[in-house]
Symmetry: D2
Subunit: 148 residues, 4 copies
């Protein structure tokens, strides 16, 4: 199973008046780490969207546990993997470590979607598509480490 590791440096602007990371930023980190995980699997988002004719992999559910606060100047090490594949959805699991201690845990459920073509003028609507087996196969390799 492919695990991607990515370092996140906490910037001043990511922190709130309490001096700790403003919690929605963690979900931004997680999103960046999911994109990095896919890139590590050879699936750069911009290219992947074209290759498979999808609109993207939007989030349908998210869960987070905030265990240890982090501050400006901290560096978090994030380990990301696909926790589960469904037919048209999948789950991503991120573990954010601070000095070796699990600080935040994120779970994302995302869907492999096309944009429905009712009308270009109408509101954006998505429809789940079957995830190609070759996409899933790209994540079955062994751990790749590095900055991405």
């Amino acid at each position: 199973m492919l695990i991607n590791r990515k370092e996140i440096y906490i910037e001043f602007g990511d922190c709130d008046p309490g001096g700790i990371v403003y919690f929605p930023r963690y979900l931004e980190y997680g999103d960046a780490c999911t994109n990095a995980l896919f890139a590590r699997a050879g699936l750069h988002k911009a290219q992947m969207v074209k290759t498979y004719g999808i609109a993207g992999i939007p989030m349908v559910e998210s869960r987070a546990r905030f265990l240890v606060p982090s501050q400006f100047g901290d560096t978090l090490l994030v380990e990301s993997c696909i926790a589960e594949w469904g037919r048209s959805s999948f789950s991503v699991h991120h573990k954010l470590f601070k000095d070796g201690v699990l600080a935040v845990e994120l779970f994302e459920k995302r869907v492999w979607v096309a944009r429905t073509a009712e009308s270009a003028e109408g509101p954006v609507r998505f429809k789940g598509q079957i995830i190609p087996q070759e996409v899933k196969d790209k994540f079955s390799g062994k751990s790749h480490t590095g900055r991405k």
Copy 2:
């Protein structure tokens, strides 16, 4: 039980290259709605923190369901309430409606904390405190509506 209603207007800058709200923004909306719920209960955050000698009400768990995407120019109506009170923690439930349809649901578990005083130089650490009954009582009123 106190329910606060707040309108959120989706700005251009809240949306991603897919043209829909970038999902971490929803957690920012939820945070603003929790602060508005407390303000509606007479507990303005800046004042509350001083009155009760706490460091804040940081998030320890969050859960979100993204059901219908929203776009620049949409207005969401958010209904917020305290779903459950614990001894030193509590849960907030936000329902975000778009044109009367439930579009996003957010659950927040927060803790009533003091900052531990090991040292001013050290990393930020929090410790749960017992939530005063008078705080809980302020949310037992009936529905208040308005823009806050």
Copy 3:
């Protein structure tokens, strides 16, 4: 000359560890106020882009003066107007008042652009277009006030 007035409520998440608005947020407020100014003139961005076949009104220059810091819970009143029209560019001026005092001043130079069609795969490139006189005329009315 059309002047739009819009209130901005400072949220907790807009503030930095110093307890004041993180300065890039002011440029987000300005962007929202420019969109509100155009909407007040009858030019809702999403519709305007379709009507005139443009890609948008991207920023090419920005200038800001930060005079008085603001904090969570403050409400700013923003006055926005078109300061100058060029052939394919224009300047927007925002004055952000806190309790009647000028707190921040923002200047935006934006261009009325089409997306160049070299290739759908290539990087995004824009090309200035002549701003229609009817667009400019919509801003010559008198002051409109309200929340938008």
Copy 4:
């Protein structure tokens, strides 16, 4: 004169519905690069604030020129230096290059401030302080390169 070089990777969440970096993000990048420049000079912000008894180095003026749009997946190389030292203020100049081409230029005027102590309850107010010569001297070295 000390010049710091820092790479910025453009994340999906930094981009707007037009598919390009949402311009206020560039000011966040600049803020991160100013902090990295100071860190390169041996002045880590959190430590510097304590050592010199200041509240920070808030922005009083900012200017930006947006020349070439960037997109998700691009990497910008940022060169940052102190352009000018005043008695209690200083200017930072950032040049953001994309594939060797100047894409964005940022100018920041910041002040070396203490927090005025009128009252802990009142609004945040800052007062400029004389910048110590030893601080200025730390930036007179030659170019340091690296990831920070």
